[in-house]
Symmetry: C2
Subunit: 198 residues, 2 copies
């Protein structure tokens, strides 16, 4: 007899997962508008009608495909002068690590021309990034600081992975993380050095 509590992986679960995986890939590489329900179905090797049956609509599918966790490291356990580099390294691990098929590249590709995706990016920033930074830099400068950090990290991802600007693509990962790490470090915990006047 088939129990009902210990949910077995029914066949429908596999199909569901296949659709979601196909959708993530296509949304990531083509964006929301250029990805058709028929494309997703073809990649998942099922009928377009199934996509709608399983997820209700293209929008709901997108909303599910987008969900994910940044899994930011606990910055309070990182040496203070390594915070910038740690953050930069973690962030580009999300883009260039083993499991690349998550919501971040997907959101980035669609956010510029899709208000739902833009709102999701703002939400993710507000719930995951801002608090992590606010815990380190004090409430007064926290917002501005978080905005600056986000602009640098998102900007490099935009150049390197979205529009593929040659020098940003060619830059070795280590050098990029080092440069961005210093910038972020300076935004978050500026030294007494005071870049300009002594």
């Amino acid at each position: 007899m088939t129990q009902k509590k210990p949910v077995k992986s029914k066949k429908s679960d596999l199909t569901r997962a296949a659709i979601l995986a196909a959708a993530r890939e296509l949304f990531t590489s083509q964006g929301f508008d250029h990805t058709t329900v028929r494309d997703v179905a073809a990649k998942a090797k099922i009928d377009p009608a199934m996509v709608i049956r399983y997820f209700g609509s293209k929008d709901e599918l997108f909303a599910l495909a987008v969900e994910f966790d940044l899994r930011l490291p606990d910055l309070s356990k990182v040496p203070r002068d390594a915070v910038g580099a740690t953050l930069a390294a973690h962030y580009f691990g999300l883009w260039e690590g083993e499991n690349r098929n998550h919501g971040l590249p997907l959101l980035m590709r669609s956010a510029a021309s899709n208000e739902f995706a833009a709102a999701k990016m703002r939400e993710m920033f507000g719930k995951q990034v801002a608090p992590a930074i606010a815990a380190l830099v004090g409430p007064a400068q926290a917002a501005a600081c978080a905005g600056l950090v986000a602009s640098q990290l998102l900007g490099m991802a935009f150049c390197r992975h979205i529009i593929k600007l040659p020098p940003a693509v060619a830059m070795p990962r280590d050098a990029m993380i080092k440069a961005l790490g210093q910038t972020i470090q300076n935004y978050m915990l500026p030294r007494g050095i005071k870049p300009s006047e002594p």
Copy 2:
């Protein structure tokens, strides 16, 4: 009599200009895909067929709407320690100055999901930005430097004007330009400080 050399502003020229202006506005605020030929025609108060007659196709209209000149200042005539701030100020003058209706916001909005727009951004970078930077920093580091500068400037525009991340929107323009100016300055002309190892 109507002369033919000193081109008078015929009526068709006005219509053409009206179409182009309407197209720029809509492409900028909605991106390429969400802007329909019918939208443009409605905004220009003419028939959709005229848009095609005047510009051949939606793609050709987009290609024309996108053309523009960054008008970068001559960095060699700027005090070396003011290069970063000058560049940042000029760049955000393009976004927030009086004449905002040009190709840059337009490209940014569409580049993530439109290969033509992405290619145009790469071309603009290669022809206008990279040379200006290469003239200052020497060919060895020029490419990497230009990539870093672009990532920071484009990233902030993305946060502030495209997805409208609250802290990036709220940041006063002066403070933003100061912070970004320092970062860019450091990318282009790092002080003797030598960030890490000597």
